[in-house]
Amino acid sequence: MAKDALQSAWQQMPVERESSRAIKSMIQSGNHPVLKRIRRQLIIESAAFAALLAVYYDIFDGDRKPFIANVLLVAGLALSIVHNLIGYRLANSCLQGSTLIVSVQQQLTKLKQYAVLSVLSRGLAGGCLLFFFSMAITYTSSKYWILAGIVLFFAVQLFVLYRVWARRIGELQQVAGKLL
């Protein structure tokens, strides 16, 4: 295969064309597909957490639970919102590396940090919720089984989340390794 044949086949490849109007609308952050999805998720989750915080004291007997349980519930929900905000910031951050290798490594570092935060915040938020709702309950054997089921559900969720992050990081690590 001649060098020029490959290059000319590539260079003659027909491609679509975007209008200047379409390109202009792309650089407006409101139209960014990923950011739009994250924003929507952020708004829905924040609204749900805010609604829960507004009613938990009356509906879920916050006044009858220990003070620390109330604090942990609020902290757990706040942590989830902070985690979402950091995710949004990460998706909105720009590439600063001077070369492809440096940029990929920087992104890998950011992704690892965010993955740790993601798993930790999900675990802590779940733990805080569980702690709050398991307070002031008179336990019977059936309630212990329910509690064990909930704990197992959270554990499986955390494991799945860990696996998703491990796969993403592994893929990027493989690219970084092959580039070097």
Partner: protein, 244 residues
């Protein structure tokens, strides 16, 4: 009143030393620069070595301007050079540059994503990333060189949905010089390229674009020798998959 801080970059960095301002603007303050002002017919040229100048638009009733009509003229620059940092660059200029270079972005999207929806998302992601990262472009290289780096990094690092199962055929079409045959050959080449891993795709893209080893080294951060070795291996792999 619109106040805009313009940066005149240093000789050793971007080599921007001349700023042309029309009569619509007046200089308010200088920072770390001793400029020489040369009046010309429709404005004046500011010559400095480095530093900043603060300018403002002269009162102009009934008109609102969002960007100054100043031109930055880097020494030795070609039209493909981007001529200013983001704050000073009009959106229209950026859009124009993307329009000029959009073919390569489309090819990268096609190479790294399998579905139309994913390709459209990646195209927008790359354009957004270029716009956001524009302040990091220091004009030392051509705009296209910088664009390759940002576009490839975005394609590699941005999360993608799980790849759909695609079966690649090893059939080689007969060589006939018809448009349809050529199209089939191009498709064949693309199918072969898609079977490479992400790192190899990046290197071969730069090679196919006709960049020299030196330019590829500048974009990737690899040594020229390493690039040569890797490209030979990738080309042999493609040779096994397709014959042009």
């Amino acid at each position: 009143m619109l106040f805009i801080l313009l940066k005149v970059k240093g000789v050793n960095r971007v080599k921007i030393r001349y700023v042309y301002l029309s009569h619509r603007y007046q200089i308010i303050k200088y920072y770390n620069v001793i400029p020489f002002l040369i009046p010309i017919v429709s404005g004046f040229t500011v010559i400095g070595v480095s530093g900043y100048i603060l300018i403002r638009e002269k009162p102009h009733p009934g008109t609102i301007y969002f960007y100054p009509s100043c031109k930055f003229l880097p020494i030795g620059a070609t039209n493909t050079h981007i001529m200013a940092i983001k704050e000073n660059m009009e959106e229209a200029q950026f859009v124009q540059l993307i329009e000029q270079h959009q073919a390569i972005i489309h090819k990268i999207c096609r190479l790294y994503r399998d579905t139309r929806e994913d390709r459209e998302d990646l195209f927008q992601e790359i354009v957004c990333q270029l716009w956001k990262s524009l302040s990091g472009f220091r004009g030392e290289a051509q705009f296209s060189t910088w664009m390759y780096r940002v576009a490839l990094t975005t394609a590699i690092t941005i999360y993608r949905k799980k790849k759909p199962a695609i079966t690649y055929t090893a059939d080689v079409p007969d060589q006939q010089e018809t448009a349809q045959e050529q199209e089939e050959q191009r498709e064949e080449l693309f199918r072969a390229l898609k079977q490479l891993d992400d790192a190899d795709k990046a290197l071969i893209t730069l090679y196919l674009e006709g960049l020299s080893y030196q330019e590829i080294a500048m974009i990737t951060g690899l040594t020229e020798t390493n690039i040569g070795t890797k490209l030979n291996r990738i080309k042999k792999r493609i040779q096994q998959l397709v014959k042009l």
